[in-house]
């Protein structure tokens, strides 16, 4: 089966000049591949480099060595570890990255934060809002909160806004950093259902989970990272 992304010997070492050049290893010799439409779960203890891998793929981190080969319909196969800024911005259109925490945009209501991603892709204002409303409803954010600013929201509500913002574009590749961490059982179920639905519509997903039980319901493959910084399947 065709692979959407292939990671080979990915290493990320941070050189901290503020601490006289101290080196910290984020992740080391990571290799895996993701077939199209598959869901890969990343598991492992805190600090083992799970988020580092996701951020290297999204290119928030600049990989130190290794290859991240991504197959894009617009650019062909490109190596995200070496792609230019403009190439990365182009490819990011096809991806969504869900951070652990919502980055608040001041003075923008919840519904607009979600709809914004569609507006960037050229949707009309009202259509974008309507679609955003549907996603918020599905994720259990009541209409009352749509006009409110998410600064005041609870952790679980913020996380669902964050998810809605990522899922609404129906990305080709979805990168999830603990999507169910601050959710209760009911909301967790809703989110996992949404992810399963997205996957059956063709989205390839890489997700970090701490909750093995939640992970088992949706993932095809699990990559366990161990503290020795190597890995097994």
């Amino acid at each position: 089966m065709e692979e959407i992304i292939k990671v080979e010997n990915l290493c990320k070492i941070f050189t901290l000049h503020v601490l006289r050049g101290k080196m910290i290893t984020g992740c080391k010799n990571i290799s895996f591949s993701l077939p199209r439409g598959a869901f890969l779960g990343l598991l492992g203890p805190s600090g083992v480099g799970k988020s580092t891998i996701l951020k290297c793929i999204y290119r928030t981190y600049l990989p130190t060595s290794g290859f991240i080969r991504y197959l894009s319909p617009s650019c062909g196969e490109i190596d995200l570890a070496r792609a230019s800024d403009y190439q990365v911005l182009q490819v990011r259109q096809e991806m969504s990255y869900v951070a652990q925490f919502l980055r608040i945009i001041p003075r923008v209501p919840a519904i607009d934060i979600v709809a914004e991603r569609l507006w960037q892709q050229g949707w009309a204002v009202e259509e974008g809002r309507q679609q955003a409303g549907e996603y918020l409803t599905r994720l259990g954010i009541t209409r009352k909160l749509w006009d409110a600013y998410p600064v005041t929201f609870s952790g679980g509500e913020q996380q669902r806004i964050n998810l809605a913002r990522a899922l609404i574009t129906r990305p080709r590749l979805l990168l999830l950093d603990e999507p169910t961490a601050s959710l209760d059982a009911e909301n967790k179920r809703v989110v996992l259902n949404l992810l399963a639905e997205l996957k059956s519509a063709g989205t390839s997903i890489i997700g970090i989970f701490h909750d093995l039980e939640a992970a088992n319901q949706v993932v095809d493959n699990i990559l366990v990272l161990e503290s020795s910084l190597d890995w097994k399947k």
């Binding site: 503020v18 290119r59 600049l62 403009y86 990365v88 990011r92 001041p106 960037q120």
Partner: protein, 282 residues
């Protein structure tokens, strides 16, 4: 908005600005490596030391750096407030992008400012004429851009003030009667009057209180969504840069020390100065 390939709007090559007599050592003995901007040979100040950048249509590019690193001088050279000592700048919508705009004569430079460039200064005193009403300030720009009917001028001015959330009924007041945040928004309205493809924003939120700052930033974001104007945003506030830009340049001692995707610059900075800057963030 993702900039498309091959729609470069502005290209700056090795722009240099030196204040003083300038000797042949100026550029070599100053900069980020030497950690100084004062030439030890002749005592000239090198404000911009071979700065190159590219800006695509519809893109917002951030420029961060400490005070005195040459950020504002860069923008002022591009708007011809200061004459660049050396280097080249090309604007795709002017002379098919083949004419170095820094070398043009005063008349052509005025044309560029009136039709193709907009600027918003940190200090509204620089951007607005405080002896004209705020409508008059916008009209000045519209007249320069060739609008001749009074009706049309007033309508356009009112429309711009609505867009920038300044009460239209106060259009005929002097800018001196307005608060700092309102003056800043009048200045933005003035800069937008002739629909420039490129807007230069120099520390526009510094000195505003946070609620007004949020309004101004919100306005800038909307303008970019709706009108697709390319912007060069100068700020030392990393929060502003994170909110507005996709790509960022980091300047130190008159040189660009690092450039990249904004989230990468903020989360995985490479240059020692950028690391210091990010680690100083509240």
């Amino acid at each position: 908005m993702v900039p498309e390939k091959n729609n470069l709007l502005l290209e700056v090559k090795e722009l240099v600005k030196v204040y003083g007599s300038q000797c042949s050592y100026c550029l070599k003995l100053t900069g980020a490596q030497a950690e100084r901007q004062l030439c030890p040979e002749c005592g000239s100040v090198v404000a911009c030391n071979r700065i190159s950048l590219k800006l695509h249509a519809g893109e917002i590019l951030g420029v961060v750096g400490e005070s005195g690193s040459g950020k504002s001088t860069l923008v002022r050279c591009l708007y011809f407030d200061e004459e660049a000592t050396g280097g080249e700048a090309y604007l795709a919508c002017y002379g098919e992008g083949k004419i170095n705009i820094l070398q043009e004569n005063a008349q052509r430079k005025r044309y560029l400012c009136n039709y193709l460039l907009g600027i918003v200064y940190q200090n509204p005193q620089l951007g607005l004429n405080f002896n004209f009403s705020c409508g008059g300030n916008i009209a000045e720009k519209l007249l320069a851009a060739g609008v001749r009917s009074v009706d049309q001028v007033r309508q356009s001015a009112a429309r711009l003030l609505v867009k920038t959330e300044v009460p239209v009924e106060r259009m005929d007041e002097l800018p001196g009667n307005f608060s700092g945040g309102m003056q800043q928004r009048v200045q933005i309205a003035k800069a937008l009057a002739h629909n420039p493809p490129l807007l230069l924003l120099d520390e526009i939120t510094t000195g505003l209180d946070v609620s007004v700052q949020a309004r101004v930033l919100d306005l800038i974001r909307q303008l970019q969504h709706q009108m697709g104007i390319a912007m060069l945003v100068i700020s030392h506030d990393l929060g502003v840069i994170r909110l507005l830009t996709d790509r960022t340049l980091v300047m130190k001692n008159g040189q660009v020390v690092e450039s990249g995707l904004t989230d990468q610059i903020l989360e995985d900075p490479q240059h020692p100065y950028t690391q210091l800057l990010v680690n100083s963030l509240l």
